[in-house]
Symmetry: D2
Amino acid sequence: MGIVLGTNQYGKAEVRLVHVDRSTPRHVITDVNVTSQLFGDFSETHLTGSNAAVIATDTQKNTVYALARTGGITTIEEFALRMARNFVDKYDQVTGARQEIEQYGWGRIETSDSGAHDHAFVRAGTETRTVVVTKRGPEETVISGLTDLVVLKSTGSEFWGFPEVEYTSLVETTDRILATAVSSRWRYTSSNVDWDKSFTSVRQILLDRFAGTHSYSLQQTLYAMGQGVLEAHPEIAEIRFSMPNKHHFLVDLSPWGLENPNEVWYAADRPYGLIEAAVTRDDLPADEAAWAGIAGFC
Amino acid sequence: MGIVLGTNQYGKAEVRLVHVDRSTPRHVITDVNVTSQLFGDFSETHLTGSNAAVIATDTQKNTVYALARTGGITTIEEFALRMARNFVDKYDQVTGARQEIEQYGWGRIETSDSGAHDHAFVRAGTETRTVVVTKRGPEETVISGLTDLVVLKSTGSEFWGFPEVEYTSLVETTDRILATAVSSRWRYTSSNVDWDKSFTSVRQILLDRFAGTHSYSLQQTLYAMGQGVLEAHPEIAEIRFSMPNKHHFLVDLSPWGLENPNEVWYAADRPYGLIEAAVTRDDLPADEAAWAGIAGFC
Amino acid sequence: MGIVLGTNQYGKAEVRLVHVDRSTPRHVITDVNVTSQLFGDFSETHLTGSNAAVIATDTQKNTVYALARTGGITTIEEFALRMARNFVDKYDQVTGARQEIEQYGWGRIETSDSGAHDHAFVRAGTETRTVVVTKRGPEETVISGLTDLVVLKSTGSEFWGFPEVEYTSLVETTDRILATAVSSRWRYTSSNVDWDKSFTSVRQILLDRFAGTHSYSLQQTLYAMGQGVLEAHPEIAEIRFSMPNKHHFLVDLSPWGLENPNEVWYAADRPYGLIEAAVTRDDLPADEAAWAGIAGFC
Amino acid sequence: MGIVLGTNQYGKAEVRLVHVDRSTPRHVITDVNVTSQLFGDFSETHLTGSNAAVIATDTQKNTVYALARTGGITTIEEFALRMARNFVDKYDQVTGARQEIEQYGWGRIETSDSGAHDHAFVRAGTETRTVVVTKRGPEETVISGLTDLVVLKSTGSEFWGFPEVEYTSLVETTDRILATAVSSRWRYTSSNVDWDKSFTSVRQILLDRFAGTHSYSLQQTLYAMGQGVLEAHPEIAEIRFSMPNKHHFLVDLSPWGLENPNEVWYAADRPYGLIEAAVTRDDLPADEAAWAGIAGFC
């Protein structure tokens, strides 16, 4: 019975980069967090400590900055692909790469006297745009996404009809608060897409469907969101969600003779419901390897 | 030499409350985190364990929810004042109260087909609106504020002219990124103010001054922000700031023959500069007790 | 081209439970965080909103508490297995379950006068013991682990011999600080193991190998740790690691005429190296499905 | 009515430093987080942007590392005093300094074959040792402390006898879990103390009193802890506490016919009780300025 090295990858995580496009006085900033990982023939460093094949993680970090300088960053998808291709094409021992990027949103400061400012910005929202590019030899998979899109409906959500089984005590409701922090990732069928246009449309569909679906379960809302995206986006093979059910409990004020007609709620931290699902197409192959190591997307 | 009980206060912290105003189909939500603390004649519970005077922290929590139901929440300032008055006026042993509230921002979801939604919302920004009300007998102090207003200027910031002393190695610059997360709190001269109007104006002035000030130091920007607020708001006695200098370091790409004309930056985590200051009026009395226990506002 | 529901699971996350064994005056506490998820025939709630098959997440939470009461918690592995079997055996629509538990360590308070206390405890360390049990029909997989075991060697670590390629600027070193936060998970070949004995031994081997390996790369240290575990534990099929290289940079004090013979270091936050690998056996089948949704274990 | 600069301070926050004492093969590591702040005559940089008086925060950072090199770090108290004296004594415009340090605990790795290792370490506990030194001209105040010392008693805690007032619904109990995360800071009467000896003793007294006090309220436990410290430590003028009451709620299993004799508890996150108090001496002057800007110590 032999002990052997299994799957492995290594790199530099969370390289924080702010790119300022100064080509006009109206600056454009791109604020990202890049994690570069490589895989390939790296058994020697594990088995003997010889680093003769190792592209140092420090070098990967330098490459992030250098490629940002030489080619700019148009979209995180394009930049992650460029990173992956750089490593896989350039080094024999690198048979694959996984490039993960998070992007933080900024808007221009709206000033009182002259509107949107040329070079002063304010962070916009808790939401993060994400991409994971996996390249294995010539094969490239792009999974875009967003996290922490926090949404809430103050009505239009019900939950009833579940079976009363052992240890069930939950009471049915026809009017509750539905709140979640949407984390969603979607896999493209190609690496040649208008990334910004696709992202903007997907995000809007997610919001439209969350707002527009009269909900009988968070699962139903989730599926409606995914269905909407796949219907409108043939370039997307599948979309996955991890959505906490952020419970809001109606406070019982009856001990003090007070009604509470769905007005005063306690927003709980833990535990929370957790709903995870993929919405996919029945005529496309799966690509489970592309999802490896991504937390919370079953 | 006697050992005695010194200053003390107690209460319930971080009562999470979401209030839904359903008076029209266009719901309004208020999402807050309330910390209620009382002080007064509570030596017995410390010295003997007798709780005969103790308004239970659980009761303070219930009061948050009950008062939200009976009077709604128009502004966090008004609600904190109402909380404080409730406790101080009602119980002899309660000589004072400190009510702290954080409010999280939400906007309406903009749907594709029908615009801003009636009852579907999305979290807006990382920013938090705050208030600390301190009431000692009849005296009330209101300190409003905001935290985590993250802003950045991609140019229009210099730093030079500092003395070269022992251990100085910093190089002067006439063009750097200036970034900070504004935490600011301002003390009112009265507890009878149009709170929302005042808050909205202060926030806009902070943004205007941050954007509009050509900066030679973060201290200078800070003072300009505070000065702007006091000039426009006679109802504000003083304003304090705690502002990290979130360093962005220009990446040196010269080893690879690349220029970097202020385009590619490394956003550092720690250490960071930390600038704290008050801007105040020379003809009004100080009120240091109102600031006790508030972190990072010297 | 049809849009269909893909893989999905749902449940209650982060059920915080403290169990006190009071069978003798020397209490024993078990402090855990349980996430229960089910999979099976749940398409209806996604497609139509009918919850007729849904074991409510609230019921899953109640089950955590009820099973802790009826059977106690001997080990988190045993408890997770009991949870999974309860759901899969009891409900036709539940074809599988994933039960994830984190356990927080506590020690007894050592008092001055009478040593280890019977019922007073103090939190021990940042480290968390973990388990993920996946049950699909009769098949059960147990993956135990630990996270945030933070370790550091102040010498006995080198890094050199890496190729000088494009964008390489790192300087070779024969003496550096090596620091990491070990996250490791290992998959058992069976669900009938002396869990505590196995865990304790694995943890000790990880520490022994980290301390005892003269390191030429973090990869080498990682592999030595995994090899040690597999050599001593035939009941373990494979072990995986996700280990940040928490960089400590020697501070250059030469501008002020000061030597720094590896004494004064800057502990950096980001970026950090990230090394992930599996150490496995060449004569056992893989079980990739058991690792789905676990972050950072490629 | 004039607008003027009020109190202000500035510096470098969270300078992460690991010092390795390599004077023998048995290395000793000191892992700290230093925040250096200065005050004095810094109005110019606020008012005009002239930095002629500004000791750059970068220089303060360099000073942390240089002083660690030239004098080592015996205790954080001694190091903070040395930092403060360096700045105040050296620069005319610096009339005062505030030096805050957090220290993270490490223990030696216990190896199977040779016991405690010479140069391999493991992080010990969630607890942090702290100091805040404030120097104003010749006057020095040392406030030592600790944070996040998480403790729990599984019995020996009661809470009853509180008045039933408006909005009270809490039920009395004679046996509950008492859990808290002790944050405590104590002010010395001098800056010439055996710091390690004093710290070690204070910490032990806190644990002894927490464990040994049959508790009728967290306030009572807190006071007993403070009293114990002051009785044993004449060099300490006062001690303050901020202690959350980390609620553990007994789970009601009666709907399923199960008793729950204080065995199965739900550990809640928020809200939590919050108890803050000072224990002091009646014959020593107060020093409120030393506590300014320290959160949560009323």
